[in-house]
């Protein structure tokens, strides 16, 4: 089983390819991944699309050597918790030299291949991060 079907990627393409989340215009909270309900404002919330800059900071990171099915060919790969400058925190792969990674490092988003779906040969793309300014 792959980690994401074609319909899933198609449905989420705006956010997965362009870092478009949502913003509640009632309370100014921003969400990535996008939410369709503001947990604070409830029925009074009004959500619209919000474009993230893709710049942020590493809150924590790991280098995965034991991968799940579908990612075996890509080990070792780094994954971090990235606090985006606009506020939301997301999980993302971090490309480049993992030995240069550290908590607090500035990163920016890049568009990369995520993985190939072995059975159908579909190549999934998405947002990854790289250390900023190098």
């Amino acid at each position: 089983m792959s980690q994401g079907s074609v319909p899933l990627f198609w449905r989420l393409k705006k956010s997965k390819y362009n870092l478009i989340g949502t913003k509640c215009v009632t309370c100014n909270s921003i969400f990535f991944p996008p939410k369709t309900l503001c947990p604070e404002c409830r029925s009074k919330g009004k959500l619209e699309e919000f474009q993230f800059s893709g710049r942020g900071e590493v809150i924590s990171y790991t280098v995965i050597t034991a991968a799940p099915e579908g990612f075996e060919a890509y080990t070792p790969y780094a994954v971090g918790l990235i606090k985006l400058d606009e506020g939301a925190t997301i999980s993302g792969q971090i490309v480049g030299d993992a030995s240069k990674l550290d908590i607090g490092k500035r990163v920016k988003s890049v568009f990369r291949k995520m993985y190939e779906d072995g059975s159908g040969g579909v190549i999934h793309y998405g947002i990854k991060f790289e250390v900023d300014g190098e």
């Binding site: 089983m1 994401g4 899933l8 809150i59 990171y61 799940p68 099915e69 999980s91 998405g126």
Partner: protein, 389 residues
Amino acid sequence: MTQKRVAVIGAGYTKFDEHWDKSLRDLATEAGGKALADAKMEGKEIQALFVGNMSGGRFIGQEHLAALAVDQAGLTPIPATRCEGACASGALAFRKALLSIQAGEHDIVMAAGAEKMTDIKGEAAVAALMGAGDHEWESAIGLTFSGLYALIARAHMKQFGTTREQLAMVSVNNHKNGALNPLAQHPYTVSLEDVLTSTMISDPLRLLDCSPITDGSAAVVLASEEAVKKLGIENPVWILASGQASDTLALHDRKSFTEMAATKFAAKTAYTKAGLTPEKIDVAEVHDCFSINEILAIEDLGFCKKGEGGKFVEQGKIAIGGERPINTMGGLKSIGHPVGASGIRQIIDLTTQLRGRAGKLQVNGAKVGLAQNVGGSGATAVVNILGVE
């Protein structure tokens, strides 16, 4: 409102292992039989069955597991319900069984947990387990559970100075206990050096920081106070309180990456209901799916201040004979982690301690025990407190 008193009156689990020769149905029936034998029952006394199972569909292609279990146990037509909360499925089944008695619906019920994880290859099992995370935003970028807990571990190390050695000491403690548990999958001791030099899985977590992939089943029989009296049960273990809480499914949506808010909330609920403080807990079973999670549990259950869990472990306070013995039968790390069964297995190990039947692993004078079972990276947490008079 005073709640009905409910007791555990029978308990038993299978050997936790890679059971190539046994199916899920074999294991569940075996565990149920052990629990019934312990309660000195035939089975027809059971009025309802609750089954904890995380992912029968992905592990063995079988859903509708409560129906399978009640059928195999020969207990149709009693109601049978599956409870799923990832790795906390077992404790959820236990809690739902308790609530069904407190609601006045039943007097004697069974709560069981079962998982058969080794029929598929390791990478597929890792992917199946990741079903407990956020499929769209965590699994889809190649995250694993060891990866998620590694993110927590590194953040905890940075924020509080928790050391790599302190993490390893969790595994050393749990294996030391598990070495004397004949039902454990890995019943042997490991040294600090063994842990620190084991294969890297998700930096900084290594193989011996991680609970294994396991087949196994566990079951308990619960009874109302009236049923306990009627049956003449001599050694009931009373359920003093149960708490359950939730948090965001994805780790990245949490307010803090170094604590489990769901554990804190579930524990607060349970302590309040039981009228107890953390100091009154004589023995605890905590969810050591990864070494870092035992340190978080120690802190979030209130056994020490936030950030001091690593020191707590280093000072030997979690050892049998220490200030707060934890995972005295081996924990998930040494006993194994058949995900849907672990929450019930924790209750059974507490029951054994509180009945004074733990042999060489006995915590002297243990009267009150706590079990904490976590689903995913902390999205579900259940805390149960048990006690004897």
